[in-house]
Symmetry: C2
Subunit: 431 residues, 2 copies
């Protein structure tokens, strides 16, 4: 763990290891994934069965075995304890309620005579949701991807999830059921993304692929982008806490560790204007680490990518935070709303001392799919906007075309696009 | 040109050449572009100067020569005829007015006691606009990319534009000036995209790269996606006209040709419920082709990728159009607003007989940067949304955390993320 003063002369150099911790896609990964995509596009289900049997150690013999049927889903729902199911239901409801507020409407501007202009909002027809398998197979990931799609009005939501050794978390299937997923396939990796993007005889082609995944999944999403939409490229996760010396060091320490336990590449950073508060948090992290079941992961993350930084002012802390563009930002200060206008880059902002990051991970309502690794500079949280697209509406009357026709023809001429001008001229009897 | 009935038994097979006309990125292009990006990331300005001198036949010796300075821009503005400048000014004003309507506000939901939830909207800090050089260097491209960025509140707009043989269209520089571009660099190709994404000593790193380009530019945008934002992957352009037998065949023919003159890969399609109208349009296209200065391009496009299709009903025509998801869709029918609800996939929709596509290309107001090649299934026109990002706002009071705390801890437990639960438990004195 780094303990730095923001005015240290070699601050940038020391801090750079944390900023540059994301895996770069090697030429080899790129080539492997490109090969898998081509194979799935060419051989379809056959390729999908081969990869799935090989990577997930299954013995599928026909494509029908790729789908997880209704009975299997119902059995999973029945296997989840009632209280867990109730918590998942609450999450689905709250996430749906928040995302309802993101819906935008088709509009038409009628302020100008003779020319109507507007924007039509239409849900995507079919989307694919990638859900990782194995240990990081989280029901909350299903909810956070499927519910916004459902709220947007997507007609068909397809979920893919690898089942290494044939296993799948029943809570994941239950979450899919509660969230409105229509069909589920037991495929993962680059091959699953390729199947969704290209379509096979069994897996229908979708319009957009969302959801987290490893470097192969991320690279596949990047390569099919343009053929289908994708949400964002996810990297390692991070939390940054801004503190002004108020609050309880043990609470902040717990928040930093909730990020660190995710994986060894996760980064947890505190920036405080109060050095002694920072020191108290450092001591608390050490103490609490010893009590965690996932201690080894959290400790590795904290030692390599943890940092406590002392800043001269909250303004300085906010400027630093904007440079990092953290996925999760806690404003653990006395007046978080006072600080909010200074925050320009962050995935989600957790306000004050009673809003730990975990409050937003499951059921506050906002999406937990957030831009990582500094991409909050330009990416937004997953939202209903990701599951709709827009079309411009342009409607001229004869009078409208007459009013603007000469200028249209002039610009067409300036660009050397004569036929553009003629399509106006022929209507107006020009030229 | 294909003249088909939508009920023809081999309609799909015959039509597939048009659907699959986009260039696929070869492994070789991918590798070349990947090499250029790595080179620019490593050698910075030096690599940029090398590529620019080589590809654009310049003799730059230092990085300062990469920038097009204020004097050069002012000279260009002075060189553009007053009437052209006035038309460009009108376009800037109208495009700005339309895009103002797309701005969304930061919101905070206060309907629930103890828990505030919301979404903060923040402009991107710095964006890069790619403008092609040579013959397809259009002032309207500058306007359509820069104005939405300016309306969104982007602090710095950087434009890159190759100058093959040292030449640049003065109208392009004038459009940049009128649209609020802050700095302009004479670089193009994959190297320009790489410079914007990684930053060099001379060209500042941006948060997002937008704008059209050839296959090298498109591939570079795809590969830097995730490091920076990008708008969309542009492919060959197309127009689809739906007609019900009303209107004037010569007008529709002119509209089809305004698309065909763009490039040989462009596709112009008419689908009409009136066979004789379709035949009249076919004859008009032949007649008008002979009058075009860009006849050879338009004829090649029309012969290879033009089509006239006879449909049994407008419903059938709309369903076909949704399958194509055209970039430009003209509803050249008596009641275009009646047909609008059936249109689910289209970049821009041109309503009725007095709205030729060209009316939307320059100055109606909506953006002309539209999803091509069927990507209107999931992409939207370039908009102010492309130049802002959102951050979730989550604010719990002690009471709020108490109310939801147990469910948060339960889901954390279900996912095996103990430290997540502890960050809540430690505040509430649980466990």
């Amino acid at each position: 763990m780094l303990f730095l003063d923001i005015t240290d002369t070699d601050f940038d150099r020391q801090f750079s290891a944390i900023l540059n911790r994301s895996e770069e896609t090697s030429a080899q990964v790129l080539e492997t994934v490109r090969g898998i995509i081509t194979d799935v596009r060419t051989r379809g289900d056959e390729a999908l069965i081969d990869y799935t049997n090989r990577f997930d150690r299954l013995n599928l013999t026909d494509a029908a075995g790729l789908e997880i049927g209704r009975q299997e889903v119902e059995a999973a729902v029945a296997a989840v304890p009632a209280e867990d199911l109730a918590a998942l239901k609450l999450a689905v409801e709250r996430v749906a309620r928040f995302h309802e507020k993101q819906k935008s409407q088709t509009w038409l501007s009628t302020e100008e005579p003779d020319i109507l202009l507007g924007q039509k909002v239409t849900p995507l027809d079919r989307v694919g949701i990638y859900v990782p398998g194995g240990k990081a197979s989280y029901p909350s990931s299903v909810i956070m991807n499927a519910v916004p799609a459902r709220v947007a009005g997507v007609r068909e939501i397809i979920m893919v999830c690898p089942t290494p050794g044939g296993e799948i978390n029943p809570a994941v299937l239950a979450a899919a059921h509660l969230s409105g997923v229509h069909r589920i396939f037991r495929v993962g990796g680059a091959q699953a993304v390729a199947a969704l993007a290209c379509g096979t005889a069994t897996i229908p082609r979708v319009d957009k692929v969302t959801g987290p995944g490893n470097i192969y999944v991320a690279t596949a999403k990047q390569l099919v982008f343009g053929q289908v939409g994708i949400d964002m490229i996810a990297g390692p996760s991070e939390i940054l806490v801004i503190n002004d010396g108020t609050g309880t060091p043990a609470h902040i320490a717990a928040d930093l560790l909730s990020q660190a336990e995710h994986d060894e590449l996760a980064s947890s950073i505190l920036i405080t204007t109060d050095r002694s508060f920072g020191e108290a948090v450092a001591a608390e992290v050490e103490y609490q680490l010893g009590q965690l079941s996932r201690e080894s992961i959290a400790r590795a993350s904290w030692e390599k990518f943890g940092a406590i930084i002392v800043a001269g002012s909250l303004e300085e802390a906010a400027a630093f935070s904007n440079r990092i563009a953290p996925e999760h930002l806690e404003l653990a200060v006395a007046d978080p709303f006072g600080l909010l206008p200074r925050i320009t880059n962050a995935g989600a902002i957790f306000m004050g001392h009673w809003t730990p990051e975990a409050a937003g991970d499951y059921l506050a309502g906002p999406n937990h799919t957030l831009p990582t690794g500094g991409t909050a500079r330009f990416f937004s949280p997953l939202s209903v906007d990701d599951f709709v697209k827009k079309s411009s509406i342009i409607s001229f009357s004869e009078q409208g075309l007459k009013r603007l026709g000469n200028d249209i023809v002039r610009i067409a001429g300036l660009e050397g696009l004569e036929a553009h001008g003629k399509s106006v001229g022929i209507r107006l009897g020009l030229g």
